[in-house]
Amino acid sequence: MLYYVLNRLVQLVLVIFFLSIIVFTIVRLIPGDPAAVMLGTEATPQALAQIRKEMGLDQPIFLQYVKWAQNVLAGNFGTSWVSKKPAIELILGALPVTLQLVTGAFLVALVIAFPAGILSAIRPRSWIDQGSTTFALLGISLPNFWLGIMLVLLFALQLRWLPPSGYLPFRSDPVGALRASILPAATLGVALAAPLTRFLRSGMLDVLGLDYVRTARAKGLAEKRVVGRHALKNALLSVVTILGLQLGSLLGGSIVIEQVFGWPGIGRLSLAAIQQRDYGVVQGIVLFVATGFVGINFAVDLLYLYLDPRIRYRPGD
């Protein structure tokens, strides 16, 4: 089992390494000289050269990468030359906003998917099952920015129940934050509910047919207890897996949703940074997000190990 964990750790490091190279290369490829962007078109060649030297842009690419990697490992993700603040500060400032959105979305998804998925598994081929499969397909086909706009049209403009946009931090104004969060979270959550329902359903179906569930039934345990004790633990497994898998698309979705609802989160930050050629912030965000993503997947793998006893005793991967 230890071998399994170490194996995963090594893979994690390799993936992050490759990622950093990809990130570094792509950002360097963005046309537009950051020195020129900083100083404007009137700058003299000497001034440009000076700034480039300061930013380390005159070094060969390989050395630039090494220097950047060293900085990153020390926790310095570079500086934004749009706002002159350290990138890490901007990122940490935007993080709670996105976290609020993502948490809300996840809650919405759970509320929809749990009953749908579990009921579908218990009564396969019933109308609930067919309905939720179709709903799942609908969910992944829906453009989430369109859903957001339609929800705003209905709930904010027509019915005036909820604000059409704007972010409110939960700490300072819980009720207001809740009202402002409902539409964005629902928009993002619906898309998440679809694969989550499918996963829960198939996870439950697998478990319900398993030997130890049949044994429990044979022992005479009531249906509810059979489902409750043994199957639910594996439903948790599905949820945890989905969390790992869908984290990427959740973040991608938040880019667009934050634009629609005007939330100053990581999504909007990255979009602005890319458009402004803010190398430092872009690299910082992508690396931060990717590392977080890979790290969470790793944690998911470990949780998997804990939740599913069958893996624990298998040698190696």
């Binding site: 893979q11 390799l14 993936v15 490759f18 990622l19 990809i22 792509i26 950002v27 490829l29 963005i30 046309p31 179709t134 397909l137 609908l138 992944i140 086909s141 829906l142 453009p143 920015f145 369109w146 706009i149 339609m150 705003v152 049209l153 403009l157 990427g248 698309s249 973040l251 991608g252 979705g253 880019i255 667009v256 634009q259 629609v260 990255s270 979009l271 890319i274 458009q275 050629r277 872009v282 992508v286 997000v289 990717a290 993503f293 890979v294």
Partner: protein
């Protein structure tokens, strides 16, 4: 169950119209037998026709402006309403279908042309090559596709062609993975060993023997991939990074419609609806194809 051939009465709906024998035909019949898959298939065909026949079926040209009729609600003259420059929204949606379908199919074409060989190489050669290729694929999948697409568009510059390339790139890992998985499972099968025994080299085995048997999941992935590609293209255009105005694109129409949401709700509603219906049709089709091409079902059909 009736032995041998099905009677036409047994397979209802559209499936009944299709002739009874041959493998391809059997797949089509299974496909059309399911309500959702049939719906997806028919709708996809309609969409392709709309995109191809756009210049002939659109009531107006997409760039035809009627400033006097700006922002008119849906009416007899403008079935889905008009936009801020008085252009007919229905016509722009029809031409937008061209853009979306074109971007979708070319992007997935690129993804398949790059991803399938990579998957073949990874699965067949194994070892270091496999490790290297799959790590790169993992790295590509490690962060959100949209973010990567946005970054690529920033590098390449916003345009239709670059959107195709960017979306193609982000769709590569899926094809590589699926192909590789199939190659791994087929590698040890008898007919591959037979090919090896006959003296076929690696390329022969991989390309001519293994690949044709991997086609089904690749086709399914292509169908689902086009749907996804259209969604990504719409998102890119929505963010201003894809197709540039005045070319009609569902995504950019949606973005503009959003700013006019109070005055002209139809502006944002219909382009978005088009995206939804298109992607839905393609997903239904892809799902239906997955079921129809599933080899396990084939045995059931033969036995009945």
């Amino acid at each position: 169950m009736t032995k041998g051939r099905d009677h036409a009465i047994g397979r209802g709906g559209l499936a009944g119209l299709v002739p009874r024998s041959g493998r391809f035909v059997r797949v089509v019949r299974t496909l059309l037998g399911s309500r959702t898959a049939a719906f997806g298939f028919v709708l996809s065909v309609i969409l392709v026709l709309v995109a191809v026949l756009a210049p002939w079926i659109a009531p107006y040209r997409p760039d035809e402006i009627h400033p006097i009729d700006a922002l008119m609600a849906p009416s007899a003259r403008y079935w889905l309403g008009s936009d801020d420059l008085g252009r007919d929204i229905l016509s722009r949606i029809i031409f937008g279908a061209r853009v979306s379908l074109m971007v979708g199919t070319i992007a997935i074409g690129i993804a398949a042309m790059v991803g399938v060989p990579l998957g073949l190489a990874a699965g067949y050669l194994g070892g270091r090559v496999d490790g290297l290729i799959m790590r790169v694929m993992d790295a590509l999948l490690a962060f959100p596709a949209i973010l990567l697409a946005i970054a690529l568009m920033a590098v390449l510059g916003p345009s239709l062609e670059n959107a195709m390339i960017a979306i193609g790139i982000i769709s590569v890992p899926a094809f590589a993975r699926i192909t590789r998985a199939n190659v791994l499972s087929l590698r040890e099968k008898e007919f591959v060993e037979a090919a090896r025994a006959l003296g076929g080299g690696a390329v022969y085995q991989a390309a001519l023997v293994i690949l044709p048997n991997c086609l089904s999941p690749i086709i399914v992935q292509a169908s689902l991939g086009v749907g996804n590609a259209i969604l990504v293209e719409a998102a890119l255009s929505f963010l201003g990074l894809g197709v540039q105005p005045p070319e009609p694109s569902w995504g950019s129409m949606l973005a503009f419609g959003r700013s006019l949401l109070g005055q002209a709700p139809w502006y944002a509603t219909f382009p978005g609806l088009s995206i939804f219906v298109t992607v839905l049709a393609l997903n239904f089709l892809g799902d239906g194809l997955r079921e129809a091409l599933d080899p396990r079902l084939r045995a059931v059909e033969r036995g009945a």
